[in-house]
C-alpha cells in the first residue's frame, strides 16, 4: 500500500498504534525522510542492526512520525555505509554516531563523525552490537582515559569550565564543557555515554518476559512508559491485543508516573530558584503519591506492573475510593501551590526568559515531549495517534510558546491537572474482565513496535524476534536523544548559575540515551 505524500510501498505493522514498514533503497531512504520532514513530521528513532549471519548484511532503520502514523524505514546497508539523514533531521546526528560506535556502520555525508557512546572501554575496531562480538568479552580498550575532541571557543577572556562526569548533586553522570566569558555561557558541549552498560546487547537472546524487566530499567523514572512500549512491541510482533481492562490500567499507571515525575520536577525547580518551600511541599505530595502506588500496585515506581499481554497487578475494587480521595486532595494542594509559584516574584524572575528555546529552533532541531510542548511543538501521542484508551478520553494537550523555564513549569502544572482528570475518567470507566492474557511465542523474524507518550516525551521500542521466541534485536529509544542537543542551545547567553535550573526544567535521562 501507499501513504499520501510518500512515494514508497509500505506494509502495515499490526499493533496498538498506526504503524507502517518499508524496505527502501538509498535514494528512497533520503527522499522519504525529506518528504516526511516537509510535511511537518519528525524523527522518532534511528538504529542499526546486523543480519549478516542470516545471509543479509547490516541495516539502518529510521522511525518517523508522519501524518498517518509511524513509518519504519529499513535500509539494507551496502558494505558499512549509508546516506546521512542528519541533514534532514539534525537529531539523527548523535544516533548515527552511536550506531557507528556499536555496529561500525557510518553515515556518509554527516558533518560530525566523532565517537559518541564509545569512551575508552573498547577500541575503534571493535563493535559490540555485531553478532560476532561476544557480550562478555572484556576488551582491553584504548588503555587510557577517554580522549574527546571538544570544540574550542577562542577569544579574549574566554575560558572553559569542565563539569562532571560526577556532578555535585544527586544526579546521573555526564560531562558538560562550558565555554564562558565572565559569567555568560558562550557554548555548552555535552559528552554523554558514561552510563553505557550494554543494554541493547543485553536484550539479545533474552526471553520476551526477561526483556520486559530490562525494558523497565532503561530509564527508571520512565519505567511505565518503557514497559508499555516494550509490551506493545511484543504484542505487535505476536499479533495479539491485550484485554481492554489491561489497556485502561496501563493508561492509569502511565498517568500516575507522569504526575509523580512532574511533582518532583516542580519541587526541584522551586528549589533551584532558592524556594526550598516548594521542594518540601512537592516532595511530600510525591511521597504520598508513591505510597499509594505501593499500597495499590505493589511498587512505588510501578516497576514490572506492565507485562506483555496485560498488567501483572490488577486494581482491587476497594482501592478505587482511596485513589479518588487522594487525587482530590492532591489537586487542591497543587492548585494552591501553583498560585504561590505564579505570584512569587523572586521565583518568576528566575523562571521567565531563562533558558529560551524559540519555537522555530525547536521545530528545526526536533525538540519533543514536555520541553517541545513548552516551545510550541504541539505533539503528544495521546492526541496525535491515541491508542486505547486515550482515543476515548480525548486528551487535552498542554502547550506554550515562550519556550523558557517558566513555560516548562506551566506545561508541567497543566499536565498534572489533565492527568488527574484522565485518572478519574479511567476509574469511572474501567472495563471489567481479565487484566492479562497469554502471549503466544512469535515466529522468528517477527517485528513489532511500541510507541508511548511517557512523562518526558515519546518512548519508542522496536523489537525483532529470533528462534524460540527469543529477542534477536531490541532498540529502546528515549526522547532525551532528541532533547539533549537543545539544552546546549537553551543555555547560550545565560549565566552559569542558571544552568542547574535550565537543566532541571528539561530533566533529561542520561541512562535512557547512554543505553
Amino acid at each position: 500500500m501507499k501513504l499520501e505524500g510518500l512515494n514508497i510501498e509500505v506494509a502495515p505493522i499490526p499493533g496498538a498504534v498506526p504503524g507502517y514498514r518499508a524496505e527502501v533503497d538509498a535514494a528512497q531512504w533520503i527522499d522519504a525522510c525529506r518528504q516526511v520532514a516537509e510535511q511537518g513530521g519528525r524523527l522518532v528513532a534511528f538504529w542499526g542492526s546486523d543480519a549478516r549471519n542470516e545471509g543479509r548484511g547490516f541495516a539502518a532503520h529510521a522511525a518517523l512520525a508522519a501524518r498517518d502514523g509511524l513509518i519504519v524505514l529499513s535500509l539494507p546497508v551496502t558494505g558499512t555505509s549509508f546516506p546521512d539523514i542528519s541533514s534532514v533531521f539534525p537529531a539523527a546526528g548523535r544516533m548515527q554516531r552511536a550506531a557507528f560506535d556499536l555496529l561500525g556502520i557510518s553515515a556518509i555525508g554527516a558533518a560530525d563523525h566523532r565517537k559518541w557512546l564509545r569512551h575508552a572501554a573498547w577500541t575503534e575496531h571493535e563493535f559490540p552490537l555485531r553478532k560476532d562480538f561476544d557480550a562478555h568479552h572484556r576488551s582491553q580498550g584504548t588503555g587510557h582515559v577517554d580522549g574527546y575532541p571538544f570544540v574550542r571557543v577562542d577569544g579574549e577572556g574566554v575560558h572553559e569550565i569542565p563539569v562532571g562526569p560526577v556532578h555535585a548533586g544527586i544526579i546521573e553522570p555526564g560531562h558538560f564543557r562550558f565555554s564562558i566569558v565572565g559569567e555568560t555561557v558562550l557554548r555548552l558541549e555535552q559528552r554523554l555515554g558514561y552510563k553505557h552498560k550494554g543494554i541493547e546487547k543485553r536484550f539479545e537472546g533474552m526471553t520476551l518476559a526477561e526483556g520486559a524487566r530490562l525494558a523497565g530499567r532503561v530509564s527508571g523514572d520512565s519505567t511505565v512508559a518503557y514497559a508499555w512500549a516494550y509490551a506493545m512491541a511484543v504484542e505487535s510482533a505476536a499479533g495479539v491485543i491485550p484485554p481492554p481492562r489491561a489497556l485502561w490500567l496501563r493508561a492509569l499507571l502511565l498517568e500516575r508516573e507522569r504526575v509523580a515525575n512532574h511533582l518532583g520536577d516542580l519541587g526541584y525547580l522551586g528549589n533551584d530558584a532558592a524556594l526550598a518551600f516548594g521542594l518540601a511541599q512537592f516532595m511530600c505530595l510525591k511521597e504520598d503519591w508513591l505510597r499509594a502506588n505501593q499500597a495499590v500496585f505493589g511498587h512505588r515506581y510501578l516497576m514490572d506492573a506492565i507485562v506483555p499481554g496485560g498488567v501483572a497487578r490488577d486494581l482491587a475494587p476497594d482501592a478505587m475510593g482511596g485513589l479518588r480521595y487522594e487525587m482530590d486532595a492532591l489537586e487542591a494542594t497543587v492548585t494552591s501551590l501553583k498560585s504561590i509559584y505564579d505570584e512569587h516574584a523572586g521565583l518568576q524572575d528566575r523562571f521567565i526568559q531563562c533558558g529560551n528555546v524559540a519555537p522555530a529552533l525547536a521545530a528545526r532541531l526536533g525538540l519533543t515531549g514536555v520541553a517541545g510542548r513548552a516551545s510550541g511543538q504541539a505533539s503528544d501521542l495521546r492526541v496525535e495517534h491515541p491508542s486505547i484508551p486515550f482515543r476515548e478520553l480525548e486528551v487535552r494537550m498542554a502547550t506554550h510558546r515562550n519556550g523558557d523555564v517558566a513555560a516548562r513549569v506551566t506545561v508541567r502544572f497543566e499536565e498534572i491537572f489533565e492527568s488527574l482528570r484522565l485518572c478519574r475518567l479511567i476509574l469511572d470507566r474501567l472495563a471489567l474482565g481479565e487484566p492479562v492474557i497469554e502471549v503466544p511465542l512469535p515466529p522468528a523474524g517477527a517485528f513489532g513496535v511500541g510507541w508511548v507518550e511517557g512523562w518526558r516525551g515519546e518512548v519508542f521500542v522496536a523489537l525483532e524476534t529470533g528462534p524460540e521466541g527469543r529477542i534477536r534485536r531490541c532498540h529502546p529509544h528515549d526522547p532525551s536523544w532528541q532533547n539533549w542537543p537543545l539544552l546546549e542551545h537553551a543555555v547560550i547567553g545565560n549565566i552559569v548559575p542558571d544552568f542547574p535550573l535550565i537543566n532541571k526544567s528539561f530533566n533529561l535521562s542520561y541512562s535512557g540515551q547512554d543505553l
Partner: protein, 168 residues
C-alpha cells in the same frame, strides 16, 4: 505560603534502626572512629551507571517524611568533603575510572555503601563488555542495600548500619 506551611505541619517519621545483615565486611573502621560520624556524616553520591531508579529514592530520603538531614547526615558536593560514598548502579566501564578517582579523592577514614540490586550484584545488567557489575568489583564496599530500587527507609538503614560500628 505561611498558611500552606502551617497546614502541612511536621511530616517527619521515626528513623529506621541499623541492620547488621546488610554489612558486607566486618567493621573496617573501629567504633572509636565511627562515633565521630554519628550525628555529623557527610555523603557523596556517585551514580556509576544506574537506571536512575535508585537516584529517585535517594532524593526521597531528603523529603520531610524521612528527613535524613535531621539526623545530621547530609549530601555534599565534593568527595573531598565526604565521609561516605553512596554508590548506585552496576559500574559501567565508562564510569570505572571516575568512580576509582572519586574513591581516591575521599579522605580516610571513609565508608562505602552500595545501593540497589545492581550495586550489590550487578543486577539485571550483570557483567559485560560495558559493565563491571557490582560496586565491590571496583572499590571496597562496607554495606550493601538490596532492592530495585531500595526504599528510602532501606537506604537510611544501610547508611546507619555503616556508621553504627557494632556499638549498639
Amino acid at each position: 505560603m505561611l498558611k500552606q506551611i502551617a497546614a502541612t505541619g511536621i511530616k517527619t517519621e521515626a528513623a529506621p534502626q541499623p541492620d547488621e545483615a546488610l554489612r558486607a565486611v566486618a567493621d573496617r573502621l573501629g567504633a572509636e572512629v565511627l562515633q565521630y560520624f554519628d550525628g555529623a556524616l557527610t555523603i557523596r553520591h556517585v551514580d556509576a551507571g544506574s537506571c536512575n531508579g535508585c537516584e529517585l529514592e535517594i532524593h526521597m530520603c531528603n523529603n520531610p517524611y524521612y528527613n535524613l538531614e535531621g539526623l545530621g547526615i547530609k549530601f555534599v558536593a565534593s568527595p573531598r568533603h565526604a565521609d561516605m560514598l553512596l554508590v548506585t548502579g552496576p559500574v559501567s566501564r565508562n564510569m570505572e575510572v571516575a568512580l576509582k578517582r572519586t574513591y581516591d579523592a575521599t579522605p580516610e577514614p571513609k565508608l562505602v555503601v552500595a545501593i540497589g540490586d545492581c550495586g550489590c550484584t550487578g543486577g539485571i545488567f550483570g557483567e559485560s563488555y560495558a559493565s563491571c557489575g557490582r560496586v565491590s568489583n571496583v572499590i571496597p564496599v562496607d554495606v550493601t542495600v538490596p532492592g530495585c530500587p531500595p526504599t528510602p527507609l532501606a537506604i537510611m538503614q544501610g547508611i546507619l548500619t555503616a556508621i553504627s560500628g557494632g556499638k549498639r
